[in-house]
Each structure stands twice: as structure tokens, then as C-alpha cells.
Amino acid sequence: MAGNDLTRLRAHEMAAALRAGDVSARELLEASLARIRATDRPLHAWASLDEDGARDAAKAADRRLAAARGAGQEALAALPGLLGIPVALKDLVVTRGLPSTAGSRILGGFVGPYDAHIAERLAEAGAIVPGKTNMDEFAMGSSTEHSAWGPTSNPWDLTRVPGGSSGGSAAAVASYHVPLGIGTDTGGSIRQPAALCGVVGLKPTYGRVSRYGIIAFASSLDQIGPFGRDTRDAATLLQAIAGRDERDSTSAPIPVPDWSTELAANDDEAAGWLRGARIGLPRQYFVKGMEPGVEARVREAVAALESAGAIIVEVDLPHTDYGLATYYIIAPAEASANLARYDGVRFGYSEHEGDVLGNYLATRGRGFGAEVKRRIMLGTYALSAGYYDAFYLKAQKVRTLIKADFDAAFASVDALVAPTSPTVAFPLGARLDDPVAMYLSDACTLPVNIAGLPGLSVPCGLSDRLPVGLQFIGRAWDEGTLFHLGRAYEAITADAGWRRLDPADLGALEDPATPTPAERMAAHA
């Protein structure tokens, strides 16, 4: 197969080709690296590459494949689904010996001395990690513009953002750099960029994936999840990283179902799952400021689900309006403590000016970007004596109410369906001066984090030639239902014309004259 064709394969197609001996892990990796080298300059999806480490891993994967092929069909079938498959890691997954910067100057030069739990799990599964992807600093943002290393573009329109904070992974998967990527989602940071880049992204139930080795933003909200170009691939990736880890006391000892094999390969069978499925449509998720094109695509998708046999029920989540305020107290409060360790004493960026306080002011003053400082100040304020009860404690009470809304809804439906983002990808720089407009990007996703529930975003068409995402929200620990819904929706829209479209600016990525996202932003300003 030609290099360019290899990068077009989905992960499960790669797995089949590897087992059949049609392709080697090394060839898949080289195709991926070649495509990254050729097209990443104008996209800037990647923060760093580890070509040598990835090649070593690919060789090891090829040896495992060869040994299994020699041992027969059973040994081949027992191989992990990710063996030999390239997977992008967000730049906040700590890996031994490689940079992990979380998009921040303050972690410039930081090389982790240990592997995150998910990095260990991916290595055990034989996945190949070509490098780490760009992100909003400390995952604070919805556009990947708040990276100390410059913004990332959206391959559907290079003048627009890919969403965030996991915009690098989403853009890399959408641009055929890799079939799979890892993101983290604190208020929508997987689902929103998945929607804006036209790929699949899942935020698992809080506690499903160990956070050990994930550079923390907001501990009670952060979850790690997969990006893929279809639901089955996303399920396979989640399968590899999910489960209890003793090093994360908030990771749950809940069994991990075999999602990937439960999902039907056959479209008719997959679509059949919709018959009689009860799906709630929350009235409050069609928010003010939602673009008509987005609402139209989502309502069309809901209609398609209904005509395939799903029972659509309108439901109320009355406290949705308080989600944003609640989130912007809890997340910054936790972040203000989580980010206190960046003091220039032990690792990373360090400035020396006078006494201890002088060192702190210089290191943190120059090491953190404006958005991070804004959130540290918000959080510090919310936790301060005299304000704690009015802000943090109140927010925790509202959190309970928001959870109760979902519990009530799930008494009558199996899952919810909603928009992922109220808008399509917005132009680079458009919301940088208006934090509240930026925060509204996550209005439909962050209540899911507040409640600790799983949420899946799948592409559901285009508006103004830009992707729109459809969000399925499930009961805690019920990622399975979301995968079935996502897979079913893919099956019933398999023939849709938009599914055959490539990201519109894919060609421009291959033109060396195309400016980088930072150059585009500078020109725009």
C-alpha cells in the first residue's frame, strides 16, 4: 500500500492489515511520521515527536505480530487491538524521558521521570506513540490558542480554531496524521474539539481512567479519553486505558466491559440497536447563541435516530443554566491549588530574582500565560476566607442539583442526545479578548463533567462547510450505551454525502507556502 493510503486507514482496519501481514507496524509508523513532517507546519498539531522511541516500539510490535502469526490464528486473535497502531498523546501525559509541557512555558524543558498510567497501558497494548500534541495551557481553553508554543489550526479551515483544549489531538486525527489520539476533558476538552474537527471523541465516566501521570487541571472534573475517526476505534482505545489503578484513589474498581467486540461491524445490525432505545432530548441544551446551522444538523440527526426506531423524549435539566457558573468556581478553585507546585524550585522554568517571594513572582509571573493566571486568581478568590461559603460551598451544592437533574432524566431514558458545541469552529483570535464568549463554547459539555457522566461526540454533518458534533450523554459507567448509539448513528448515516468529504484545507496543509497558525494570527491582528 502507498504511504498516503495507510494513513487513511481506521485503527481497526490497520489492525486487520497487520494481522494479515499486509502491512507492518513500522510501515504504518513511517507513513504517519512522513505525513506529520509534510503537513504539520501549517497545522501545528504536535508539540513534540519521539521518532526513535516510536520506531523501537514499532519494531517490538512487528516481532509480537510475527511470533503470533507463527503460533496460529488463536495467538493472532489474542493480540491487543492497539498493537502497532499509532496513537497521539496530549502534551500533558507524563512519559519517562520525554518532554511533557501541558502547553506551558512553566514546564518548558520538563522531562518526566516516570510514565503515566495510560502510557504504561498503551505500551503494554503495543500502541505506537509518535509524539505529543498541542493544547491550551494546562487544558484551560476551548481553542488551543492558549498554548505557550503557539496555536493549532483546524484542517477544515486553517483560519479557524480546532477547539480545545485537546485541539492538537483532534486536528492530528482529522488530518490523517494518526488514527487515534488521547485527550483530556475537564469541561468539554475532548468532545468540543472532536465536534469542531469532525472526529469522534469520548469523555468517560469520572473514575473510569486513572489520572496518574496526567498533569492536573481540575482534579474532580478531569478525565482522559479517546479520539478516533469512528466509534469502534474510540471504544478500542478506551478499552486499553480504562480500569482501576491503585495509584489513583479516585479511579473506580468497576469492571471494564469488552466494548469493542460488542459493537457490530455490520451496519444493519448496528442500526438495529436503535429500535426501542429511549433517548432524552434536553430542552435546555438548545441554548441562546446556538448557531441555526448547528441546531438544524442536530435536529436532523435526532430525526434520523427516531426514524430508525429510537423513542425520543423531551426532558428537562432545569439547573443547566447554573452549570457554567458552577464550573467556573470549582475548576479554577482546584486549579489554583493544583498549579501551586509550579514554583521553579524542583523542575521546569525557573527565575531567580531576590528572595523567595521574588523568585515565585518572577517564575510564575512569566511562566504562566494570561488565561492560566486569570483562573488561578478566580480560584484563589473563590476559596478565600469570607468568600468560601458564598462561592465554593455554594457551587458544590449546585453541583449536587445538577447531578440530580441527570438522575431524574435517566429514570425515564437510556441516554441523552444534545449538541456538543453551540457553534462550529470559530476564527483564530475571535474569542481571545472575550473570555466569557470562550467559556460559552462549553455550555453543553461542562454539565456532564460536573455530574461525572460519560459523553460522546460524533460528527453529524456540516454547517457552513464546517463540522457539527452530536453529543450522547449516558449514565455513569454506561459508556457502552454511548458507543452503541454512536455506532448506530454512523450506520444509519453511512451513505450521507458529508461522510465522504475530507477536511477542506487538507490540500493546503501540503503546501509549504501555507503560513503557520501563529503567522496567520499575527497577520490577522
Binding site: 507524563v94 516516570y114 501521570g213 484513589s249 491549588a337 507546585r341 476559596l383 476566607a385
Partner: protein, 496 residues
Amino acid sequence: MGAAAAGAPVAARYEAVIGIEIHVQLKTASKMFCGCSTDIKDAAPNSRTCPVCLGLPGTLPVINRRAVELVLATGIAIGATTPEFTRWDRKNYFYPDLPKGYQISQYDLPLAANGHLTFDTSDGPVTVGIRRAHLEEDTARLIHATDAAGRRVSLVDFNRSGMPLMEIVTEPDLRTGEQARRYAEELRLLLLAIGASDAAMEEGQMRVEANVSLRPVGTDAFGTRTEVKNMNSFRSVERAIAFEIERQARALGAGEVLVQETRGWDDDRGITYTMRIKEDSDDYRYFPEPDLPPLRADRAWLDAIRAGLPELPAARRARYRDELGLSAYDAAVLVGDPGATAVFEAALAAEPGLAPKAVANWVTGEYLRLAKGAGEGSGAGASGVDGAQLGRLVRLVADGAISGTNAKQVFERHALSGEPVDEIVADLGLAQISDRGALIGIIDEVLAANPGAVADVRAGKGQASGFLVGQVMKATRGQAQASVVQALLRERLGLD
């Protein structure tokens, strides 16, 4: 204030209000939230660290179950309530010895609350209320040094970072420096008995801080308090607080206004000095630790901890008095020194028939003399003492197999070398000869060799009898039992 009160000595016009905060390092194998060893005493700097206790990005804490058990055990031992639901909180502040920029501690739901401890003082027993005992992690250690270029630098040793600490806070129930010292001593005994901590103050395993304020006798409102630190021995706790009471009394008596401040104790100069003036109260922005789920201590776990508690110091003192018939003084001395307690218990266990008082005399006398002598750099030390061997020695004395004087010699050698008592007695040839057959031959020889003395004895001269006994003792190198020799002499001389 009345004329009589105004005329009283300054200190007598005020009542001191003292509360004590004690941090103790818990005796666990690993640190509070990671697997690093707590054996840091002679470890090279930063050799007992891992990504977790260095606070590296991405790391998460995992609770040390043993540390929780030790705090719960302490709570049960002081009669505290131990809630079935508790949680962890972040205490936020910046300092280079605090790697995460927050300390994981407990704020409003401590593992133990509302306990009490009773101890003896020179004025009789005192009971202090214990407000709370909670679990937290220790900070790293800062070392201030000068580098090769002559610049002043601060180095951080993270070996201590994340060591498990229990903080125990009393109510402001104490009134004198002596009470404070006695409380700390009694608490230490309790912790040692439970095995919660080695609580060695000189090793920093037990850190005592005192809040001291004064108020006019007969009033209830609290005065301005100072926090006294750097008291590195029980003696300095008493001295520092006594000094601080006197200092505050003088200041108040002179009409000065006290400031709320942290003061350090200078043991050499015997004074407290200003370390830090608190202009406003610290805002630590406590909030629940989101990386750790709340902890539920169920009834069965608490019951198991309660059942596993050893005999506590107060109960032991009572048993020594009431069941073993020891004096209150002997009981207090024995229980006041864990080494003495262990030797006493082991001696009685090895020789159950011995009179407890006889064993107690040996432990409070010879044993503690040697043990404390070693501690002060003089004396032979008592590191070799095996309680069971002491029991054997006391048994030999009781049976008349060895003299009391020789027994002390044997014990000193045992204390140093740990050799079995019987071997030392044999080696030194100290076994008493009380056997009639063995002694008659020697006595007859002495009588034959000293006809003059024999004649004197027969004539009723008492001193001559003593001379003959001495000659027999000399001939047996002191091994003859004097009472037996006397009886045999009279018998051989036909005086009975």
C-alpha cells in the same frame, strides 16, 4: 482591681492559659501518600523520594492505611470520638519545603475529636481536654548553607516530605509549665505504648508548640496569646512556658500591650524571642482534597483497632499498684520509662514466683541507674539487659544462691555484655556455698589452725566468733553463706 490584688506579686495576679499542639511522626514503614521508606535518619539527602513526595506534575496521593489506624488507635486511647466519615483537605500556602504548594491535612472532620488525658503533677492529677487529633503530611527540610562561590543558598532535602504526621491539639486547659511538660511526657508514653510513634523529641519525631496567654485571676476572656516554638526537650517545654508566663505577667503588670506573635525558645539563654509577628490571620484556603475520596471507618475496623490496643500507661500504673502491690511511686517510675517497663514485665514473666517489689527494686534501682548513666555519657549502660535474665538473678538472690553484693556485680556485667547470669556467676565463682558437707571440712581446718580464737569463743568473747567466720569466708573466697557458717561454727564448737 482591689488594693489587695494590686499589692500581690505580678505573676500571682494573672492566670496562665496554655494550649499545646504536638506533631508526632507516625511509625509506619512507608510515607503518608507514597511508597517511600520512612527510614530517613541516616539517608543521603533526597534519596528517600519519588515523583509523589516530590510533588511532580501528574502525581496523586494514596492514603497509608496504617497511618490512619495509628491515629484512630490514639483517638480511642484518649477517649475521643472517631467519626465514621472523614475526609482530607488541602491547606494552601507557598514555601520551598512544601512541594505541592499545599499540604494534605484534615480541616473540619479530624480522625479523632474531644478526647482527654490525665496525668500526675506535683499538685496532683490533672486532666486536659484534647480537642482533636488529625493526620497530615510533613514538609521537606530546608538547609541554609553557603555555596562554593560564597553565596548564601537554601537547599531542600525532600526525604522528610510526605512523612506521616499526627497533630494533637489540646483545649486551653493547662495552667503551668509543669502541667504542659507532664502532659507531653504522658502523651509520649501513650504513643510509645500504642506503637504510634517513637516520639523522640531530639530527633524531631515529636514537636511541641505552646499557645500561652494570661488573664487576670477570676476572669474568663482570653488575653493576647503568643505561640512558643523550638522547645526540643521536655525540660525546655516547662522552662519556656514558665519564662513566657513571667514575661507576659511583667509586661501586663507594667501596662504594656502584648502583640500576637510566634516566639522561639533559646535554651542556652533561657529566654523566648520574637520570630514572627502575625499582622493578620493566615488564610490557608482549605478545601476538600479532590484527589482522595472521603474515608469511612466502619464499626468493624474501629472495633478491631480497639481490640488491638495494648495496656495503656494509666491502666498499667493502676495494675502495678492494685494487683502487684507496688507503691504509687514505684509504679510511676516503672511505667515512666518504657525500657524499665519492658525489663520489669519480662523479669516477672520469666520468674512468676518472684515478689514484684523485689523485681521493682532492681529495675528502679540498678537498671535505671545504669540506663540513665549511659544516657548522660557516664556509667556502663544497660543495653545488654534481658529482663528474663534479671528475673533469674533476683531468683538467685532470693534463694540465697548468691549474695546481694555479688548480684550487683553480676548485673553490671550482664547489662554491658548481655551474657546469661548463670554463666557470669559460674565464671566469677560467686555461687554461695551453703552445703553443709562442703563447709564442715573448711570450718574444721579453720578451727584447728586458730586454737586461740577457739578458746576465746568458748570463753564467751563475741569478737573471736566474728574472726572465725571471717577466716571461713576468706578460705571460700566469699562464697560461703554467712548464716550457715555461723550455725556450723557453733555446732562444731558444741555451743548449741
